[in-house]
C-alpha cells in the first residue's frame, strides 16, 4: 500500500502554499523523520519532515518549484520497499491552532523587484526571468514555463531569494480565489478584473462577507474619491506572494484596531557613547550590539513594569502576557518578516545581539520557520538605518503596542541656558487604544526616554 505525501497546513490559516522543492530524489528511501520537501506557507518556508517511510515516487504531475499547492493536495507517494502488510495511511500532519505564529504587519521601505540571491544559499535556482518579461499576464503560464532544476536539490539546502514571479500569486491574478481571500461571486471577480481592482482586498457585503459586484464598484468609487494613488493604468503587474498576501491581510486587520501614536524625543548622546564603547571594547566576543539590540534590551527591562504594554486584546478580556518576547521587524527581499526574540529580560545584551543577528540572517535567507515568528508580545521597528527620523508604526495585532525607532541625529539643545550639541532620537509608540489609554502609554514612553538617557544598566 503506497502512502500519500500531502501538503500540510503550516500555521492555522494556510490554505495554499508555494512548493519550493524536494529534498529527496525520485526512488530514494525516505525514513520516518527525514526532511522531505520545502514548502512556503503564509509566512515562511519550511522543511517538511516525513511522518512515514518508504521509497519516494513522484507522479508525472508532481508540482515543481514555485508551483502553488493546496493544503491536502497529494504531492507524491511513498512505496513500501518490499510488499509490506497492513501499512497504515499516514496520519495528516497537524499543528495546534494556538501555536499558530503571527506575523508582523508593518510597511517597511519599498523593496520591489527581483534581487540577486544572497550568499549562503546553496541551491541552484531557476533562472530569474529577464526583467522585460511581462510577469503577471498569465502567471500560471509563466510559472509553468520556468525551467525546473534537472535534479532535485540535495539535502537540506533551501532556496533563498526568489523572483517575485514564483508562484503563489498565480491564483489571484488568474481570478481563482485563494483560500485565504474572502468569498466572492464569480461576477464580482470578472468585473474586478475588467476594472483592474484587486477583489481580494474589497470588503464584501454579502453573506459571509462575500464580495459582490456592488462591493467592487463601491470600492472603486471610494478609491476615486480619495486622492489619486496612481495615474497610470499601464505598468507591470507584480503577482502577490504568499508573504505579501499575509502582510496585506495582517495590515487590513490592524487597520480595524483603534490605535493612537505618541511621539517623544529622547537624548541619545549617552546611548551613542555606550555603543561606541561597546564597538571599541577589546573583550567583545559576539557581534557588536546595534541600536535595535540596545533598545530591545531597554524595552525588555521596562515592560515588566508596564504590563498593559506587554498585552493582547483577547476578545472578551485583556491578556497580560507572562513573558516578554520582542519581535524585530526585518526587511527582506521577499518582504517584511518579524522574528521573535524570546524572554528578553533574562538575557544579556550580548546574547540578544547574537540572537537577533542570527534571526536576521535566517530571515534574509528565507529560512525562518513559523515558530521563529510566533509568540511575540511587543514589536520594535527601526527605520533609523534607512534615514527615517519619525514615522507612524502600524500595530502588529494582537499585540498591544509597537515601538518605532528613528534615526539618531545631532542637534543643538539649550542646556542650563547654553546651546550645546547633543544626539537626539525620536520614539514613536503606536498602541491599541482598547487595551490602554494615552496617559499610561505616555508614562511608558517617558520611562523609556529616561532609560535611553541612562543606558548603562543594559550591561547588567
Amino acid at each position: 500500500m503506497k502512502i500519500e505525501v500531502t501538503v500540510p497546513r503550516l500555521g492555522w490559516s494556510m490554505e495554499e502554499g508555494v512548493f519550493q522543492g524536494w529534498l529527496k530524489r525520485e526512488g530514494e528511501w525516505v525514513g520516518r523523520g527525514d526532511l522531505l520537501f520545502v514548502l512556503e506557507g503564509d509566512k515562511a518556508a519550511q522543511e517538511v519532515e516525513s511522518l512515514d517511510e518508504g521509497v519516494l515516487r513522484l507522479p508525472a504531475a508532481a508540482p515543481g518549484e514555485g508551483d502553488v499547492v493546496q493544503v491536502g493536495q497529494v504531492l507524491a507517494y511513498l512505496e513500501p520497499r518490499a510488499v509490506a502488510v497492513g501499512t497504515a495511511p499516514a496520519p495528516a500532519p497537524q499543528m495546534s491552532p494556538s501555536l499558530a505564529p503571527k506575523l508582523a504587519a508593518e510597511i517597511g521601505p519599498a523593496g520591489t523587484g527581483p534581487q540577486p540571491a544572497r550568499a549562503g544559499t546553496a541551491v541552484s535556482l531557476p533562472p530569474v526571468v529577464p526583467a522585460a518579461t511581462p510577469i503577471a499576464a498569465h502567471p500560471r503560464d509563466a510559472v509553468d514555463s520556468l525551467p525546473r532544476p534537472a535534479v532535485a536539490p540535495a539535502a537540506t539546502a533551501l532556496p533563498g531569494a526568489r523572483p517575485v514571479l514564483a508562484g503563489s500569486s498565480g491564483a489571484a491574478a488568474a481570478g481563482r480565489r485563494p483560500r485565504t481571500a474572502p468569498p466572492s461571486s464569480p461576477r464580482a471577480r470578472r468585473i474586478a478584473a475588467s476594472l483592474g481592482v484587486d477583489w481580494a482586498r474589497v470588503a464584501g457585503g454579502g453573506p459571509g462577507g462575500r464580495v459582490r459586484e456592488q462591493d467592487v464598484r463601491a470600492s472603486l468609487a471610494t478609491a476615486a474619491a480619495a486622492p489619486p494613488l496612481e495615474a497610470s493604468p499601464a505598468g507591470e503587474r507584480v503577482p502577490l506572494t504568499a508573504l505579501r498576501r499575509t502582510i496585506a491581510a495582517r495590515l487590513t486587520t490592524a487597520a480595524a484596531v483603534p490605535t493612537a501614536t505618541l511621539t517623544r524625543r529622547a537624548d541619545a548622546t549617552a546611548l551613542t557613547a555606550l555603543r561606541r564603547s561597546l564597538a571599541s571594547s577589546t573583550n567583545q566576543t559576539g557581534p557588536v550590539p546595534g541600536y535595535t539590540d540596545l533598545l530591545v534590551k531597554l524595552v525588555g527591562m521596562l515592560l515588566p513594569e508596564f504590563p498593559y504594554l506587554n498585552a493582547r486584546w483577547d476578545g472578551d478580556a485583556l491578556l497580560l502576557c507572562a513573558g516578554v518576547n520582542i519581535g524585530i521587524a526585518v526587511d527582506t527581499d521577499a518582504g517584511l518578516v518579524v522574528p521573535v526574540l524570546r524572554d528578553v529580560p533574562s538575557r544579556s545584551l550580548g546574547d540578544i545581539a547574537a540572537a537577533s543577528r542570527a534571526a536576521i540572517e535566517r530571515a534574509r535567507a528565507n529560512q525562518l520557520t513559523p515558530a521563529d515568528c510566533s509568540g511575540g508580545t511587543f514589536t520594535i521597528t527601526n527605520l533609523g538605518g534607512l534615514g527615517v527620523e519619525t514615522f507612524t508604526p502600524v500595530l502588529n495585532p494582537p499585540q498591544a503596542a509597537i515601538l518605532g525607532v528613528g534615526r539618531i541625529t545631532p542637534e543643538a539643545v539649550v542646556h542650563d541656558g547654553a546651546v550645546v550639541a547633543r544626539e537626539g532620537i525620536t520614539l514613536s509608540l503606536t498602541f491599541d487604544h482598547r487595551v490602554l489609554d494615552g496617559a499610561p502609554a505616555a508614562r511608558f514612553l517617558d520611562a523609556l526616554r529616561r532609560a535611553i538617557e541612562n543606558p548603562e544598566r543594559v550591561l547588567n
Binding site: S185, P186, R187, A188, R189, R190, G206, P207, R210, R212, E213, Q214
Partner: protein, 676 residues
C-alpha cells in the same frame, strides 16, 4: 433471374396463375435465403444487435403483400424482415442495415427492429410489441381524412393480441370502418411462453366479432390460402367496407432470436414436425403437380435467388459505416416546415383587442383547420360538444365527424393511431382535456412518436399535436393537475410548449400546427380564462424564443405558465421597494431559449427560477445548471430555485395552496436574493 424478381418490384400486378404462383415462390425463397444468410452473419458476429428471423412463416407476408400497391402501407414487428422483403425492400438494404452500414434502409439508425423504407410503404418494424396495430389504424384513418383508397396492414404476433393496443386498435378500426388488415402471425409462442398460457380465448380469429369485423383463421403455411383471403380483405378495405382480422396459424422453426436456445420450452420433434410443413416446399409441390414448372426450373430459380442474396451480402459488407458526426441528425425535421403566417415574437402594443387564452387557441386551431385539410382532432367530447374547455366549439358543425373525432376512452389507442396517421400524411391533433391522461399513452409518445423521425432517418414526418391542461388550482386534485413538461422535455424528438399568455398561446399553436415535429401543447388551466391582447391578423411564434416580459436590472426571474404571471406580480410589488426585476418567460421548454436567459443573467447577475412543477431533475434545475455553467462569471449570487412541493397534488384548498409557490414566496425569495 425471374422477371418478377427485380429488386423492389411488386408482386401484385401478376396476371396469370402461373406467374403469380411462381412469384410467390420466388418471394418466399428470397425471404428464406436472406434470413439464412442473416443467421450465418449473426454467428460470425457481423450483426451487432438482435436478429429475429422469419423462417417458417414466409407464406404470411408473401401472401398478404402480394395484394398491396406501393402506396399501401405496412407496419411491422420485431420479426419483420419478411414483411419488409415482401413489401419490396431490396435484400442488400436489409442486410446492410443489420450490418449497421450507411447503405442500410434505416441508414444504420435502426437495425433489425427498426426497418424503415417509407418510399415503398414499409413504415417500420418495431422493438415494442403492439404499437404497429395502432399505427396501421392511424394510417387507415389518414387514408380517410386524405380521401385516399390506400390500405394499411399491421403484422403482429400472438403475443400482441393480449395487449391493449390490439383491443383499442381493433375497436377503433371496426368502429370507424378503417381500411386496415390486421394480420396475426400466431406462431404459438411469445418468446418462450405458449399462447395457451397467456390467452383466455385462444381463438384469435373469433375476436374480430368483438370489434365488428370479420375474423378468419388461416393455415399460416399455405401461401395460396393466405393470398386469396388477403385479396378479399384488401378489396373490402379499399372499397370502404372496413377492416379484417386474419389469424394465420404457423410456427417459427428457428429460435426466437439468433443465438438463443430453443429447446427449453419445446421439443426437437415438434420443430421437426413443423419443418415438414415448410410453406415453400408445399408451394413447390403444388407448382410441379400443376405443371407450371419443373423441379429443375425451380432449382434454377433457387440458384439465381441464392446469387442475389450473396451479392447483397457482398454489397452490405463493402458498405461504409455511417459518419459518427451524423449520430444526432434527424431528431427533429431537418428542414422546419415554413410558417404559414409571418413569424412574430413580441406581444402587440396597446390598442389591440383582448381575448381569452382559451379563445386564442381556438382561433389558432380553427384558422389552421381551414388552411390544412389534413388536420383532424381526436378527443373525448370534442365533437358535437365542442370540448370540455370549448377548445373545438363550433368546429364539428363546420368540418364534420371525420375531422372532429370523438373517441372511446382509449388514450393509448388514439395516441398510437395519431402517430400512424401523422406518418402517413395527416396532421392529427389530440385533445386530452387534462394532460394527466396522456400518461396512459406514454409509450406511444416517448417510444413511437418522439423517435419516429429519427428512426426513419428523417424520411417520415411526425406532425402530431398533443394538447391538454396542466397545473394546480381549483381543487382539481392529483389526477387533473399534473405539470408534465419536465418529463417530456427530457426526451429528444418532442417539442414542449407551455405558453402563459393568449398571444403566445395562439402564435405557438399556429406554429405547432404548421411544423412537422410532434408537439406537447400544455395549457395551464388557471390561465384559460385570462385575457390578453391578440392581434386580428394571423401570426406564428417560433419555438425556442423566450420573451422578456419585464425589464429590470437587479435580478432575473425565469418562469413559465402561471408562474410567469405570478413573477410579474412579484416584480411589480418589489419595484415599490426599489428592487428592479427582469422577468423572462421561455414560453417553450423544449427547445429552451437559454440564450435569452443567459443574456438577462449577464445583465442582472442574479437568477431566480420559479416553477410550479417538481424540483428534482426539473425545469428550474435545468436552467440553474445552464446558468451555473455558461453564466458562471456573471453570477453575483448563487442561483435560487423555487418549485412545487414534492408531493401529489392535494384536494383541500388549504393543502393545495401549500404545494405551489405563492406570490409571497416569490416576493420573499426575490427580495432575499436581490439583497444577498
Amino acid at each position: 433471374m425471374p422477371a418478377a424478381l427485380r429488386e423492389g418490384s411488386e408482386l401484385s400486378q401478376t396476371t396469370t396463375a402461373a406467374e403469380s404462383w411462381l412469384a410467390l415462390f420466388d418471394r418466399m425463397l428470397v425471404i428464406r435465403l436472406c434470413e439464412e444468410q442473416l443467421a450465418r452473419s449473426h454467428q460470425r458476429g457481423l450483426i451487432h444487435g438482435a436478429c429475429h428471423t422469419y423462417v417458417g412463416e414466409e407464406a404470411i407476408a408473401t401472401g398478404v403483400c402480394a395484394h398491396l400497391r406501393t402506396d399501401d402501407v405496412v407496419f411491422s414487428t420485431h420479426r419483420g424482415h419478411g414483411h419488409a422483403l415482401a413489401k419490396g425492400l431490396p435484400p442488400r438494404e436489409l442486410i446492410a442495415e443489420l450490418y449497421g452500414r450507411e447503405t442500410g434502409c434505416s441508414r444504420g439508425r435502426g437495425g433489425s427492429m427498426h426497418i424503415f423504407a417509407p418510399e415503398i410503404g414499409m413504415m417500420g418494424t418495431s422493438g415494442i410489441v403492439g404499437p404497429c396495430i395502432l399505427q396501421a389504424a392511424g394510417a387507415g384513418y389518414a387514408s380517410r381524412v386524405l380521401g385516399l383508397d390506400r390500405v394499411a396492414v399491421a403484422f403482429f404476433g400472438d403475443g400482441a393480441v393480449n395487449n391493449g393496443a390490439f383491443h383499442e386498435g381493433l375497436n377503433m378500426a371496426g368502429l370507424w370502418k378503417l381500411p386496415v388488415l390486421f394480420v396475426c402471425e400466431n406462431n404459438q409462442f411469445a418468446t418462450e411462453v405458449p399462447f395457451n398460457a397467456s390467452a383466455a380465448n385462444t381463438d384469435v380469429a373469433s375476436r374480430g366479432a368483438s370489434y365488428g369485423m370479420p375474423g378468419l383463421a388461416l393455415d399460416g403455411n399455405d401461401v395460396l390460402g393466405i393470398s386469396s383471403a388477403a385479396a378479399e380483405a384488401v378489396a373490402r378495405a379499399r372499397a370502404g367496407e372496413g377492416p379484417t382480422l386474419l389469424e394465420c396459424r404457423t410456427y417459427r422453426t428457428r429460435a426466437h432470436a439468433e443465438g438463443m436456445g430453443d429447446f427449453t420450452y419445446r421439443t426437437r420433434d415438434e420443430v421437426d414436425e413443423w419443418r415438414k410443413r415448410c410453406p415453400i416446399a408445399r408451394l413447390r409441390e403444388r407448382i410441379v403437380a400443376a405443371g407450371l414448372a419443373t423441379d429443375e426450373d425451380l432449382r434454377a430459380r433457387e440458384a439465381s435467388i441464392a446469387a442475389l442474396i450473396a451479392e447483397a451480402e457482398t454489397f452490405a459488407a463493402a458498405s461504409r459505416p455511417p459518419d459518427p458526426a451524423t449520430a444526432t441528425t434527424h431528431v427533429y425535421s431537418a428542414v422546419p416546415a415554413a410558417p404559414a403566417s409571418p413569424l412574430r415574437h413580441h406581444p402587440p402594443g396597446p390598442g389591440t383587442r383582448e381575448i381569452t387564452y382559451g379563445r386564442a387557441t381556438w382561433e389558432a386551431l380553427s384558422e389552421e383547420m381551414a388552411r390544412h385539410p389534413e388536420i383532424f382532432v381526436m378527443g373525448e367530447g370534442i365533437g358535437v360538444r365542442g370540448g370540455n374547455f370549448r377548445t373545438t366549439e363550433g368546429l364539428f358543425q363546420k368540418y364534420g365527424a371525420l375531422r372532429l373525432r370523438d373517441t372511446p376512452i382509449s388514450e393509448r389507442g388514439f395516441v398510437g393511431l395519431a402517430g400512424g396517421a401523422a406518418m402517413t400524411g395527416a396532421r392529427p391533433v389530440v385533445d386530452f382535456m387534462f394532460a394527466d391522461f396522456i400518461m396512459d399513452s406514454i409509450g406511444e409518445v416517448v417510444n413511437q412518436i418522439a423517435k419516429m423521425q429519427y428512426m426513419s432517418s428523417g424520411r417520415l414526418k411526425m406532425p402530431v399535436l398533443l394538447r391538454g391542461c396542466i397545473g394546480i388550482g381549483h381543487s382539481a386534485a392529483t389526477h387533473h393537475s399534473g405539470n408534465y413538461y419536465p418529463l417530456y422535455a427530457h426526451f429528444p424528438g418532442l417539442r414542449v410548449l407551455v405558453p402563459s399568455t393568449p398571444y403566445d398561446a395562439k402564435g405557438l399553436m399556429k406554429r405547432a400546427l404548421n411544423c412537422d415535429d410532434p408537439v406537447l401543447f400544455l395549457e395551464h388551466r388557471e390561465l384559460l380564462n385570462t385575457r390578453g391582447p391578440v392581434p386580428d391578423e394571423e401570426y406564428e411564434i417560433e419555438f425556442g424564443r423566450a420573451v422578456v416580459t419585464r425589464e429590470g436590472a437587479d435580478l432575473t426571474i425565469v418562469a413559465i405558465a402561471q408562474m410567469a404571471r405570478r413573477a410579474l406580480e412579484a416584480a411589480e410589488q418589489l419595484a415599490g421597494e426599489g428592487i428592479s426585476i427582469e422577468v423572462v418567460d421561455p414560453r417553450t421548454v423544449s427547445p429552451l431559449d437559454t440564450e435569452t436567459i443567459l443574456r438577462s443573467v449577464h445583465k442582472t447577475g442574479r437568477l431566480l427560477v420559479v416553477d410550479e412543477a417538481y424540483g428534482p431533475f426539473g425545469f428550474a434545475s435545468e436552467i440553474a445548471a445552464h446558468a451555473a455553467g455558461a453564466a458562471f462569471d456573471d453570477l453575483d449570487a448563487p442561483v435560487r430555485r423555487l418549485f412545487g412541493a414534492f408531493s401529489p397534488t392535494p384536494y383541500s384548498p388549504s393543502l393545495e395552496q401549500a404545494v405551489v409557490p405563492a406570490l409571497a414566496d416569490i416576493v420573499q425569495a426575490a427580495r432575499q436574493l436581490a439583497r444577498e
